[in-house]
Assembly symmetry: C2
Homo-oligomer: 291 residues x 2
Amino acid sequence: MTERSETRSAGDPADGRVRIRGWFESLRDRLCEAFEALERCYAGPDAAASKPGCFVRKAWQRPGGGGGVMAIMRGRVFEKVGVNVSTVWGEFSPEFARQIPGAEEDPRFWASGISLVAHPRSPRVPPAHMNTRHIRTTRAWFGGGADLNPIYPLEEDTRDFHDRLRRACDAFDPEWYPRFKKWADEYFFIPHRNEPRGVGGIFYDYLEEEFERGFAFTRAVGEAFLDIYPGLVARRMNDPWSDAERAHQLERRGRYVEFNLLYDRGTRFGLMTGGNPEAVLMSLPPLVAWP
Amino acid sequence: MTERSETRSAGDPADGRVRIRGWFESLRDRLCEAFEALERCYAGPDAAASKPGCFVRKAWQRPGGGGGVMAIMRGRVFEKVGVNVSTVWGEFSPEFARQIPGAEEDPRFWASGISLVAHPRSPRVPPAHMNTRHIRTTRAWFGGGADLNPIYPLEEDTRDFHDRLRRACDAFDPEWYPRFKKWADEYFFIPHRNEPRGVGGIFYDYLEEEFERGFAFTRAVGEAFLDIYPGLVARRMNDPWSDAERAHQLERRGRYVEFNLLYDRGTRFGLMTGGNPEAVLMSLPPLVAWP
C-alpha cells in the first residue's frame, strides 16, 4: 500500500508528494508572474487611467487535513484570474469512498493540484482553464486538463493552443493527444444547451502512470499552458472592443457558470465534500448576464 | 388508475386538469397585469427617462407532449421577471420513473404548473419566487412554494409575507403553515455557504389531497402571493439606492444562481430531462457578480 500520511514524509524532499507539491507551487509562481507582466505591458483601452493588477494570496486550512493557497488578481487585462494550489489529505466519507478508485477498502487519501481560471476583461481575449492533480489512495493517478473558451473563437488561436498541447502529449505517447482531446470535447460540453463550452483542449483522468512519468507529463502540461496562453492574451489584449461585444461576453460567461455549477466534477466534488467554497467558486466569472 | 391522456378530456371543461390549467393561466394573466401596473406607477430613480416595461410571451412545445408559455418582462421596476405556465404529458424515462411516486409501474404522467421569479432592479426591493403545480401519475399530488429573497431583509416585509402565507395555509389545516415554513427553511438553504437563500416562505410537495381541496389550496397560495408581493414591491420601489447597494445586490444574486444550478430540484429536473433550457433558466438573474 502506498504511504499516504503527509507527516511521515513531509521532511523527505525525495518523496514524490513533496516534489509534485513543490512543483505545483513553483508553476503557480511562474503563472502569476507571467500574468502580472501582461498587466504591466497593457496598452489597450483605459491603459493610461488604470494601474496594473497584482495577485493577492490567501491561505486556507481544510478541517480534515491540509489546505491551500488561493492567488487571485483583479486587474485591467484580467478582470479576474485565480490560481489555486491545494494539498489535502484525510479520509473520504464512506459514501464518497465508494466512488473513488482504490478507496473502497481504505478511505485514506492524499491529493495535490493546481487549478487556474482566467476571465479577461476584453471580450476579444479568450478565457482559459487549466488544472493538473495527483491523487493517492491505495492506488495513485494523475488527472487534469486545459481548455480555451473564447467569446469570439479565432482559428489561429484555437490552432496554436491545440498544437502546443499536442506537442506536450506527443512527447509521451502519440495516442494521448487524440484521446485526451476527444475526452475534452466530451467533458467540456453543455448538454442542456447542446453546445460545447469552448473550443476544447485536453482532459484526462485516472492516468495510472509510473510516478516519474506521470509527474513529467504533469509538468509538460503545465509548461505547455504557461508557454501558450500568455501569448494568446498578449495577441488581442490591446484591441478596443464594443459595448455589444461586452454584452455578448457577459452572456457567454453565463454558459461557463452553468457548466461549472451543473456539471463540473471538481466544483460539485469540492462543494459537496465541504471544500472551501471561496476557493472552489473562484472559477466563476466576475460579472455575468442572463439577459 | 387516474386518466392521464390529455386528449381524452381536453374538451371536457369539468375535468380537473382543464380547470387547474386554466386557473394557472388566469393567475399568470393577473400577476402580469399587477407587475405591469407597478411599472406604470413607478416614480423612482430615472423614472422620467425610462418607459414602463411590458411582458412578452413566447410559446414553446415539448417534444414528448405539451409545452408552455414563457412570459418575460425586462422593465424599470423589474430588471427581469418571468412567469412560466406549462402543461406537459408523456412518459418518464425508466430511470426517472423510479424516482417519481406512482410512476414505477406505469411511466405515464401529466403535469401542469406556474412558476414565477422576480428580480427587481432596486437592491431595496426584494426578489421573490413562487410556483405551484399539480402532477398525475398513477397517483396525483400538489406541490409548490413561495419565498422572499431580500438583499437587505426588513422585518416588516418578512413578517407581512409570512403572515399572508400563514393565512392561506390556516384556512386548510393549522398544521400546514408551520410544516411548510420549516420545509422552506430546509429546502431554500445553501449548504456550501451554510446560509439560507432568503427569509423563507413555504414549500410543500407530494401533497396527496382530494382534488377539490388540493386545487383550492393551490389557488389560495397563488392568491396570497398575488395579494402580498406587488405591495412589497410598491413599498420600496421609488427609494433611491447607492452603487454599494447595487454591488451587494449583484453579489447576493450569485447565491441565487448557486442555489438554482446546484440544488434546485425543478431546475435540475427540467434540464436533465430535456426541458426547454430557455424556460427553465428564465429564473436566473439578469446581471450577477462573483467579485
